[in-house]
């Protein structure tokens, strides 16, 4: 009897909300078919069975925030043929990367009453800052269809189909009226990577950047337009500092505006 060995899949968790790995379990129509194609070899949230590595494909959720995790990710890399990060935490440090903007020493002094109990790093960082990553799947959370597509690509060959253009492109495709042009609602769509399906404008709200920066985003121009629409500097800082705050283009732009907020405060202090 001919029997081919199924490729082995592993799913790993670092600092995260579990939502991106849940996306795999949310593939209600496809999950059993996926399980026929691959061996779910190490997926703690779904199974108590652990099959030893090496693994053909590792999906990595979460960011690195502890010394222990910075070692563990090295082991995961060594055990994996392909390593794909899933979601904003693994790809950009996640919402927990907001700590990166704080003065770490002060922050720790405020936060820890029992510092000896907790080990944490000053920064929350993306997986690619620690190990080689074969592909980064974006989103907070990731898209189900993109996840299935990326798994297909890595297990059967081919290229993942995850275009790096902006949310605006998807709005045009869906025929959604632009909330920024028509209603003056600030929207991060022009600088945000597509993948969500441009949901927010359909629900009458501006994009808030769940999928992080698109390829070569013009953040400066968008921020200026948001300012013209009445957004204050500190609000521009806030919208850029969500789930992808530490992604370089968003970080750089938010820091520029943060400096302006400080400038305004200093000017006030001097005049008053």
């Amino acid at each position: 009897m001919k029997r081919t060995k199924k490729p082995k899949l592993a799913v790993w968790k670092f600092a995260s909300c579990d939502g991106c790995q849940l996306t795999l379990l949310d593939c209600e129509d496809e999950l059993l078919a996926v399980a026929r194609e691959v061996e779910i070899a190490n997926f703690a949230e779904a199974s108590r069975m652990v099959v030893k590595g090496p693994y053909d494909l590792s999906l990595v959720e979460g960011s690195i925030t502890t010394p222990r995790d910075s070692e563990r990710i090295q082991q995961v890399r060594r055990a994996s043929k392909f390593l794909v990060t899933i979601g904003a935490c693994a790809t950009a440090g996640g919402i927990q990367a907001l700590r990166n903007f704080q003065n770490v020493k002060e922050f720790i002094a405020i936060v820890y009453a029992q510092p000896a109990y907790i080990e944490t790093l000053g920064k929350s960082t993306a997986i690619a800052d620690h190990v080689r990553v074969d592909f980064e799947l974006r989103g907070c959370p990731i898209s189900k269809d993109q996840l299935l597509d990326v798994m297909r690509a890595f297990l059967h060959g081919g290229k993942p189909n995850t275009p790096s253009y902006s949310v605006c492109m998807e709005c045009k495709r869906r025929g959604t009226v632009c909330v920024m042009v028509a209603h003056g609602t600030p929207c991060l769509g022009p600088i945000t990577h597509d993948g969500c399906g441009a949901i927010c404008p359909v629900y009458n709200r501006g994009c808030y950047g769940c999928f992080g920066p698109k390829e070569t985003p013009n953040t400066h121009s968008l921020a200026a337009r948001c300012g013209e629409l009445g957004m204050k500097e500190r609000d521009i800082v806030r919208v850029l500092r969500n789930f992808n705050a530490w992604a370089e283009p968003f970080r750089r732009e938010s820091e520029a505006h943060e400096n302006q907020v400080h400038q305004v405060h200093e000017d006030k202090d001097h005049s008053g």
Binding site: L32, I40, S47, T65, R99, P141
Partner: protein, 437 residues
């Protein structure tokens, strides 16, 4: 490894280094000496993410989007507790169809989250499988039913919330957009199927083998004057507690334990308490839909159930109730004129407790006249259940030392899974505890 009988005076340890089929990262450690449990630790090593710390300085209008990122399994719970707490501070009342839509989206989350637990995380323990996927080889129809039931819950969340995980449509005052009557009607057919599937689920889980393990728990849940609780109610217990949500901080406190990155909650002068489906059921049996009550009794439950292994039955009864409630809301739905109630920003402190799938989820926010958050407190259900889980292990292990090592370890894992712990949720709460010390 060979094991000795209970008479042995040898020290024995049961360790589970990495708990599986739970949300988040935790382990388990039980030390037994001469037939007595001398140490039990539910170890939580999920890295802290400091939500309360970075909520400071954010706008209260962002709290729903930010706190939903605490948990990918129950984001609606975080959004609901957040907006209700902020509305409490602003004196905003969300009523009528907008209120009903919030219940509806919460029904969707209960169905999705409970079904995930019943079919994929909990049931495999009773039937001796490592997971639902391997269980599907022998029971394909059952697992398929579970997946489709879960999908029905997710469909509700997706339609109202925009997507299943971290929905985008919930805001202070209501929603960004409300669905048309016809689009909700389209859900009704799927939900009728789901209601039948939920009823079959109750019947199926009732046949699972349950160890005898009744405990005298202190149950804490919300209670509403007319409804099974979701977003509103007073905090009550089976020992006479009956307080408004504002009183939470006076009676419940948290402690920082060395081996856990989640705080342990306690009730003043009472110690450990129990939140979640079993607590809700015991305190609100009379508020369940008639069909859900009937199904519970037919499944062999009493109006009081004190065996946490049977939480799988109670969760299934709640799925059935949520399907019926969702159908009722859809039936009576008329599209509201505006998607959100208007409000004026002002300084204040607001409190809310809602019933997340895993139990009461408490939020408190204080913000200034611009709506900038000055401090925030969030207490998720799992940190409230930690002490009770440890107590269960202390009770269960000595009585079952004769079990072979692997069986006993598996049973211990199951005791933890009885609570459907969400460790990702429970690990964001160090900040507040630290501030108080």
């Amino acid at each position: 490894m060979k094991t000795k009988s209970t008479k042995s005076t040898k020290t024995r340890t049961i360790r589970v280094d990495y708990l599986t089929r739970v949300e988040g990262e935790g382990g388990l450690y039980v030390k037994v000496k001469g037939g007595t449990v001398v140490d039990v630790k539910l170890k939580i090593f999920e890295p802290p993410r400091f939500f309360e710390a970075f909520l400071r300085g954010r706008s209260c209008e962002e709290a729903a989007d930010i706190t939903s990122r605490i948990c990918g399994i129950c984001p609606i719970a975080y959004q609901m507790s957040a907006v209700h707490a902020i509305e409490d501070a602003l004196g905003v009342k969300v009523e009528g169809q907008l209120r009903a839509l919030r219940r509806l989206v919460y029904c969707g989350e209960w169905i999705e989250s409970h079904t995930l637990h019943v079919y994929m995380l909990h049931a495999p323990d009773f039937l001796g499988y490592p997971d639902a996927i391997r269980m599907a080889k022998d029971h394909p129809d059952i697992v398929q039913r579970g997946l489709q039931l879960k999908k029905a819950g997710n469909e509700i969340v997706r339609l109202i919330g925009g997507r299943e995980i971290h929905p985008i449509n919930v805001r202070v005052g209501g929603f960004y957009k409300v669905p048309a009557k016809e689009s909700l009607r389209a859900l009704a057919e799927q939900l009728k199927w789901a209601r039948d599937a939920a009823l079959e689920t109750v019947r199926w889980v009732a046949t699972l083998p349950f160890p005898e393990f009744e405990q005298d728990f202190l149950f804490v849940a919300l209670r509403h004057e007319k409804e099974y609780p979701f977003n509103e109610g007073r905090i009550v217990s089976n020992r006479g507690l009956d307080i408004p949500v504002h009183g939470y901080d006076q009676l419940f406190s948290e402690e920082h334990i060395a081996y856990s990155s989640a705080l342990h909650s306690e009730m003043k002068d009472q110690g450990a308490y129990f939140v979640g489906p079993l607590a809700r059921y015991n305190l609100n049996f009379d508020r369940l839909s008639p069909l859900a009550r009937e199904a519970a009794i037919a499944a062999g439950l009493q109006p009081a159930c004190r065996n946490p292994f049977q939480s799988i039955v109670v969760r299934s009864v709640e799925i059935l109730h949520a399907c019926e409630e969702a159908l009722r809301i859809i039936e009576q739905y008329e599209m509201p004129e505006t998607p959100a109630v208007k409000y004026e920003m002002k300084a204040g402190t607001g409190y809310a407790c809602t019933e997340a799938p895993r139990g009461i989820l408490y939020h408190r926010y204080r913000f200034d006249a611009h709506g900038t958050i000055l401090d925030a407190k969030i207490v998720p259900p799992t940190s409230q259940n930690q002490k009770t889980i440890e107590n269960d292990l202390k009770q269960f292990v000595p009585a079952n030392l004769s079990l072979p090592e692997e069986d006993l370890r598996w049973r211990c894992e199951q005791i933890v899974r009885n609570y459907d712990p969400c460790i990702s949720c429970s690990t964001h709460f160090l900040k507040l505890q630290m501030e108080r010390v």
